[in-house]
Each structure stands twice: as C-alpha cells, then as structure tokens.
C-alpha cells in the first residue's frame, strides 16, 4: 500500500462518521426545509403524500400575519436592549474583578454560575420571584404593599414583562461575557497604563483611550455572541412568561412577549401551520445572517479605527 492510498483511506475512514451525522441532521433537513417553505406542507402529511408547490404564499402570508410581525419587532427591541444590558453589565463586572480585590476569584465564579444552568430552569426561578416573592415584599415593608396588587405584577404588564426577560437574560449571560472581557483586559500590557498615568490620564480616560481600543477585538466577539443569543432566545421565554400577557396589535389579540423563536414554534405546533412556520424560520435565518454580518463588519471597522 502506497502512502497516497493509505492517506486516502484514512481520509474517508476518519471523515465519514462525522460527515454522516452532519448531513443527516443539518444539511439534508436544511434543504428539505427550504423546499417545504414553498409548499403546503402540514404536520398531518406523511412521507409520500403529495405536496403542492405554492410559490411565495407562505412568505407573503407571514408578512401579513400580525403575530409574526409583532414578534419580529419585539425581538429586535429585545435584542438591542438585551445586548446593551449584558455587555454593559459584563464589562463593568470584568473591570471590577480585574481590580485589586481580595475575593476576586470568588466573585468571578459567582457571576458565572447562572450560565451553567439552563434558561428553562432560570426562567422558572424568576417566575417565582416575580409572581410570589416580590408581591410578598409588602408583608415585610408595609410601604411596598402596592407590589402585592395583582395589577402591579411584573409579568402581568407587557413592558415590564419584557424587562423581566432582559433581567433574566442578562443574569444568565453576563458572567460568560464577563469572562471574555476578563481574558481581554488581562492581555492589555500594564506598561501602557503606567505610561498614561505618568502623563496624567485619569482612570476614566485610561479606560476610554487605552483599555477599550486595546480590547476592540473582544467587543466584536461579545457583541456577536450576545446578538445571536438574544435573537434566538427561547427557553427563558417559555418558562418565564410563556409569551404572556395577552396584548393587542393591528387589531388582533396576541401574546405580548412572544419572541420570534417561540412564535415560530407556536405557529407550527399550536396554530398547526407547519409550512408557514417553516417560511418564517427561513426569514428568521436570513435576517439573523444579515444583522450579524452588519454587526461584525461595523465592529471590525471600529477595531481598525481605534
């Protein structure tokens, strides 16, 4: 057996198993899905049943579906707020835990812990806090008894329920993003800060003109991770609000905090519109690609400028 033959055999023996899983789970379903989005596919149809090609109907109907448009806009708002909240929190925490603190390693571990536990479970914990623990604060501090009024429940109002999703999303993810900032901050040479201090730069000036430009690459990564994470949020949405409270949009009653991923899921399994849900997933995919490309290219440009 020549070397060339051996290499070719090893190439295929080593590659085939993972390629099989990859094709079975991602590539084939991806193309089937793209195809289904142009048909009248439904959950009751079995393999071999005739599928009719319906052109762009599923897409045009999606853009006329109030709950889809609403979830789309809501997800954009949620993504922007959540990205900001996570990154600001994570950056501040990173600055804190890279200072000369006595217990900085314990703090790092503590901030990281929520990230280890799935969004589903975190959402249940906070549902209890918002629905039971906070309303009972009035029993301890009489001045806060208004919190016990059912009309004041955090999850009972659309805007505050959205903020609750941001709170849990930030709590879940800030520790992980903090760790990326910590790694970046620790790679900034101490001499730069030393030199700037001698030149009379204040702490805030040093953060603005040395730290932030030096870790510009970390911002590209953290922005990308938080963007994708927020845009795809599903688990916390299910367990914290389940989409509620109900709301009105375009004269249609719908769920007030139903983010896109949950909306697509519900369109498929609750409203039983499989083909339309698939078209919405295709739109979701294209939008996610476009906005993440825009984000990365803006960040990359900033990296150079700084």
């Amino acid at each position: 057996m020549t070397d060339k033959q051996e290499n070719r055999i090893v190439f295929w023996v080593f590659l085939t198993p993972i390629l099989f899983a990859f094709l079975m789970v991602i590539i084939i379903p991806f193309f089937i899905g793209a195809f289904y989005s142009f048909t009248n596919w439904s959950s009751t149809a079995r393999a071999g049943a005739t599928l009719d090609f319906v052109g762009l109907t599923n897409f045009t109907e999606s853009f006329r579906d109030p709950s889809f448009i609403y979830s789309f806009l809501l997800t954009l708002i949620y993504t922007v707020i959540n990205m900001l909240a996570i990154n600001v929190t994570a950056f501040l925490l990173a600055v804190f835990v890279t200072s000369k603190l006595k217990f900085k390693n314990i703090y790092r571990v503590g901030f990281f812990i929520p990230n280890l536990i799935g969004g589903l479970i975190l959402g249940y914990i906070w549902q209890f806090i918002f629905n039971n623990a906070i309303p009972s604060l009035g029993d301890i501090l009489p001045g806060l008894s208004f919190l016990g009024d059912p009309g004041n429940l955090v999850l009972g109002n659309r805007s505050s329920a959205l903020m609750a999703l941001v709170t849990v999303g930030t709590w879940q993810y800030a520790g992980y993003i903090m760790m990326i900032y910590v790694a970046a901050l620790e790679s900034v040479p101490a001499e730069l800060h030393e030199a700037a201090r001698i030149d009379g730069a204040s702490n805030v000036e040093r953060v603005r003109h040395i730290t932030i430009p030096m870790i510009a690459q970390a911002f590209t990564i953290t922005m990308f991770l938080t963007l994708v994470q927020s845009f795809k949020q599903f688990d916390v949405n299910v367990s914290l609000t389940a989409g509620g409270p109900s709301s009105m949009f375009m004269e249609t009653p719908l769920l007030g905090t139903e983010l896109l991923a949950l909306n697509i899921y519900n369109t498929a399994f609750v409203r039983n519109r499989m083909a339309m849900a698939q078209a919405q997933a295709v739109i979701f995919f294209l939008v996610l690609i476009v906005i993440s490309l825009v984000q990365v290219s803006i960040n990359k440009k900033k990296e150079v400028e700084m």
Partner: protein
C-alpha cells in the same frame, strides 16, 4: 467609578453586593425547597420553619411519576456523555484529516462545516422531525424518541463548531512530528491516536465544556426529538413536564429545580478553573 478605583474598599463592597444579588435567586430556591405548600404561599421570602422539610420534598420529587428523577438523571448522563465522546473523537479525527489533506474537496468540506455554524436551529427543526420520521417509514430505524436519534442529533449540531475549533488548533501542530512518527513505523491511524490526540488535550477540554453545558441544559431539541411523556426524558424536559403538571405547586417545583442544579454546580465548583478556561478559549478562537 473613578472614586471606587482609588478606594478598593468601596469597590470591594460594591462587587460583594452585586455578587450577593447574583446568587440571591439561588438562595430563594434553597429556602423555598424546605417549605411545605402552605408556608411557601404565605411566606415566600422567610426562612423555613424546619429544614427537615427539604428531605420530605426531596423524597416526593425522587418518587414523582412525572419527573422520574433517577431515570431522567440517568438519561441525561447517558445522552450527554455519549454525545461528548462521539463529538470529541469524531470531530478531532475529521479535523485532522481535513488539515493534513490539501485538496479542493477537503477544503470545500471544511468550509461547509464553517458555513453551517450560522444555521439557526429553528430552520432545521421541523424538517428534521419529518426527515427522521421518513427514515423510520422507509428503513424501520427509529430515530425519534430513542437514545440513538438524540445522540445523532447532538453530534450533528455539535460537530461544526467542534471541527472548527480542532482545525484551528491542529494547524499549529508542526508536521515534522508526524513525519518522525512515520519514520518510527507508525501507521496513519497510530499517528493520530498515539501522537496527535494527546496533544489535543486542551482543545478536547474546550470542546467537552462548551458542548457539555449546552447538551446538559438543552430543552428544545430533546423536546422535539424525544417528545413529551416518553420513557426517555432529560432533566430539563422532566422539570418542564413537572412544572406543567403541578402548576403553582412551587414548593415541589423549587425542590425539583434545586435537585436539577446541584449536580452541575458541584461539578463546576470541582473543576471551575478548567471549565472557565475552556469556555473562554472556545469563544476567542
């Protein structure tokens, strides 16, 4: 912020307060796991009257027929560990031949893995189900509601990031090492398993940590592939199933949550240095 830099004591206190605030929800879970149905309703913020109630609640969750804690825990262990073994072994060997084979085909396959990283789960989840169902009808091989299908799905979804991480790392390993192994009489198989794989240890750690946390906590994929009310259910499915069946029975839901969290928190505290390093390395690559 400027002031707190000059007075580390003030910063220490601020950070300690944020630290406590971060852990406060877990404290709420702990104290409420030791309450009965009545006490948790009237006093969700107070300390429990008797900590021994926690044992009673543990017993109830342990033997509950919705959550089936021991079986669910075992299922989660089986699914997570077998998926991790398959992902690390299969992705690392694939990445290695992709790096060392310089052909157009090899390059194209690698680019396909990279491109797939941007595909969100939502776009493949419905067709995946109908595809798995069709496979069953044609071949009789069950992929839905089985361990095999679940693990195959995790290997498929986990492989693109893993191949990418291994690929980046293997590129930096000098080829001379492999030539030396060849002169010493190693076959290509031996070269990988005896020489290369041990060098990959740090990146194995990253791949295991990133995929492990994801798989252990994942909810949507098992919900779709394993389904509801299946003999096989993972811990997140069990908790969701339980919370759905025992609406507002917060004493038991809190206990179920506590029992779901304990193993992973213990594991993390035991290996936190490696876990954090692994996760950060994975994101920066």
């Amino acid at each position: 912020m400027k002031k707190s830099f000059k007075h580390p004591i003030a910063l220490e206190i601020v950070t300690a307060l944020i630290f406590l605030a971060f852990l406060f929800p877990f404290f709420i879970v702990l104290i409420n796991s030791a309450k009965d149905a009545f006490q948790i309703t009237v006093d969700p913020l107070g300390m429990p009257q008797s900590w021994s109630q926690i044992a009673v609640n543990f017993g109830k969750i342990w033997s509950n027929t919705n959550i089936r804690y021991p079986q669910s825990f075992m299922s989660s262990i089986i699914i997570t560990s077998l998926s991790l073994v398959a992902i690390t072994v299969l992705s690392s060997q694939a990445a290695w031949v992709l790096v060392r084979t310089k052909t157009k085909l090899s390059n194209a396959i690698f680019l396909l893995f990279v491109a797939a990283m941007v595909i969100p789960f939502q776009i493949v989840m419905f067709p995946l189900l109908s595809w798995f169902r069709s496979i069953f009808m044609v071949t009789g091989i069950r992929l839905l509601r089985t361990y095999f299908g679940m693990i195959l799905a995790y290997v498929g979804f986990g492989c693109s990031l893993s191949v990418f991480l291994y690929h980046g790392f293997i590129k930096s390993i000098p080829f001379e090492l492999e030539e030396a192994a060849k002169i010493d009489g190693c076959s290509r198989f031996q070269t990988f398993y005896i020489i290369i794989s041990p060098i990959l240890r740090p990146i194995h750690a990253t791949v295991v940590v990133l995929n492990g946390i994801w798989i252990w906590n994942d909810y949507l994929l098992p919900l779709l592939v394993l389904g509801v009310g299946n003999r096989i259910q993972t811990i997140p499915l069990a908790v969701a199933n339980f919370a759905g069946a025992y609406v507002k029975q917060w004493d038991l839901i809190m206990t179920a949550i506590l029992m779901a969290m304990i193993p992973i928190v213990v594991l993390f505290l035991a290996a936190q240095k490696h876990i954090i390093k692994g996760m950060v390395a994975g994101s920066i690559k």
